[in-house]
């Protein structure tokens, strides 16, 4: 079943087409990788799905319901959560406060204070940050701040999670842990669409990979197919 579907999605920045006529889909329960050189439009596509920016034409559907045109907070409440390329945690707030906001405001139904706290603690437990719940978020390491962003997103009870460069800037051990977290999230039944530059990581966890270049989709397939795709190799290495 298709959980997310985009049809002829187009976004212009001035005269430049950041995303042009891109069709894409994500099936329930998979991990889909989104790759491409810098400036290919990966984050723009994320911003369009999560309604950080509005698209010029095309349509995006989530569970067969049109979500393009909704506001960012509504997208979150329908079940699409995201993290950011440059970490955006609420630095002066304790770790628990960050996650509480997700469970208070991000779920479709809203919850009581006790339920929200339990939900937030569960998310923190899941990503392994429960011991630091009282620490201001700005005092965490980069790897932990990224985990916190994931916990905040999970607290909104998403069905689809958009991860924007979860492992950029992490060392080898942290990368391995982050990839483990990604599969753990998928095992909970949450579908994942992730942008990543580290090929080794993305090849190992993704069921399917989409390649963007200059705002157009140039390839799509299993990791193996993508690794042997002539166009993709040319784009990355030059002819």
């Amino acid at each position: 079943m298709r959980i997310l579907e985009g049809e002829k999605v187009t976004k212009y920045f001035g005269g430049l087409a950041a995303i042009s006529n891109v069709d894409f889909h994500v099936d329930q329960g998979e991990i889909v990788g989104l790759i491409g050189p810098n400036g290919a439009g990966k984050t723009t596509l994320f911003n369009l799905i999560s309604a950080a920016i509005t698209l010029n034409s095309g349509v995006i559907r989530f569970k067969d319901r049109k979500i393009s045109g909704l506001k960012a907070y509504q997208i979150c409440r329908t079940g699409v959560a995201r993290t950011f390329q440059s970490v955006k945690v609420f630095g002066n707030m304790p770790v628990l406060g960050n996650v509480l906001l997700g469970s208070f405001f991000g779920t479709s139904t809203g919850m009581s204070s006790a339920d929200a706290t339990r939900e937030a603690m569960e998310s923190l437990e899941f990503v392994g940050l429960s011991a630091m719940r009282g620490t201001p978020a700005k005092d965490l390491t980069l790897a932990n701040q990224k985990r916190l962003e994931v916990a905040r997103a999970l607290a909104t009870r998403p069905e689809l999670l958009l991860l924007d460069e979860l492992i950029a800037g992490l060392n080898a051990t942290e990368t391995a842990q982050a990839m483990e977290l990604v599969t753990k999230i998928r095992d909970r039944g949450i579908t994942i669409l992730m942008i990543e530059h580290v090929m080794k990581a993305i090849m190992s966890v993704c069921n399917r990979i989409m390649v963007l270049h200059h705002g157009e989709k140039i390839a799509e397939g299993t990791p193996k197919e993508i690794a042997n795709n002539q166009t993709v190799i040319e784009v990355y290495l030059g002819k």
């Binding site: 960012a72 997208i75 950011f84 609420f90 509480l100 906001l101 405001f105």
Partner: protein, 317 residues
């Protein structure tokens, strides 16, 4: 849970202090001379202006210079309706009109950020002032209005009531999930929106709620001046004072702005009576010194001292 235990323990002492202050305030006019009652009323007014400002601008970081507009609207509401309606209704009307104005302005302008928002809100004060002047000169052919007289003690008790309701409201908002959401807006608006917070609605509503108290204060304080015109009602000082008092007191703690406003208002009174010619100069100097050396306000200073004392102990943040 252990968290609730800690907060109730921490609330105990301030709670008792507040209770005693409230009882003291309640019986104050029965024993104190009229001058001191008026002085305390002025202090209450400044606390209300400052705390209302802090409810919205404190956590979100949106510097609003609109308090003078809401204050002036309250004053004019009182002047227009004062003769026809009873005092409680006039005061509620002052709050309501301010609320509506803030709702309208908020919906239009809260997408502006930083300095643009500050300038727009300040422009609002001037805009309403000029509109009223135009109206009075060209249409009603009057200048200013007389306001009904109310006894000093009545003004005092009304201000006390507004202050009490405001403090309770501010405390509830600060402790609620909406307080947390306001803080997240101040830290990163984009992330807040993607966490499911309807930032536009939240900002607009809280901005409007904070304006109720300023409008109501304007409506009751108008009765102290007997005559008002647009220049008196829309004095830009009422926009700047709350900001300065909040910074002076420090916004990190709930009681910071209260302390700031109290000391500032008292200082103003003392300086005006003792040094009528130099008071603005001294006032300015104190302000510059406090901003240079107390970036977190008086509360920041207090916390520094306490941290110094507790340095060796294991402190629970």
């Amino acid at each position: 849970m252990d968290i609730t235990k800690v907060t109730s323990k921490r609330l105990f002492l301030p709670g008792i202090i507040f209770f005693f202050l409230a009882v003291l305030a309640l019986f104050y006019p029965l024993y104190a001379p009229a001058y001191y009652v008026i002085q305390l009323t002025a202090i209450f007014m400044y606390i209300v202006l400052t705390m209302s400002w802090v409810i919205f601008s404190g956590p979100t970081g949106y510097i609003s210079l609109a308090p003078a507009a809401f204050f002036g609207v309250g004053i004019y509401t009182s002047a227009v309706l004062g003769k026809a309606l009873s005092l409680p209704i006039v005061i509620c009307a002052g709050g309501l009109v301010s609320f509506c104005l803030a709702l309208l302005v908020g919906a239009l302008t809260l997408r502006l950020r930083g300095i643009y928002f500050a300038i727009f809100t300040f422009g609002l004060v001037e805009l309403i002032k000029q509109l009223l002047l135009y109206w009075e000169i060209n249409i009603t052919h009057t200048r200013g209005r007389f306001v009904i007289l109310v006894s000093n003690n009545t003004i005092y008790y009304v201000m006390l009531a507004i202050l009490a309701i405001l403090l309770i409201t501010a405390y509830i908002i600060r402790r609620s999930k909406y307080g947390l959401a306001l803080q997240s807006i101040g830290e990163d608006e984009e992330a807040a929106a993607h966490t499911g917070i309807n930032i536009t609605a939240l900002k607009t509503v809280i901005f409007a709620v904070s304006a109720i108290f300023i409008g109501a204060t304007g409506a009751i304080m108008a009765t102290r001046w007997t005559y008002i015109d647009p220049y008196i009602a829309f004095n830009p000082l009422f926009s700047f004072m709350p900001v300065l008092m909040a910074i002076f007191g420090g916004m990190g703690q709930f009681y910071g702005p209260i302390i700031g406003a109290t000391i500032f208002a008292y200082l103003e009174e003392v300086l005006i009576t003792r040094f009528p010619y130099y008071y603005m100069l001294i006032f300015g100097l104190i302000l510059i010194i406090s901003i240079l050396f107390l970036p977190n306000g008086l509360v920041g200073l207090l916390q520094k001292w306490r941290k110094g004392d507790l340095a060796k102990q294991d402190e629970n943040p």
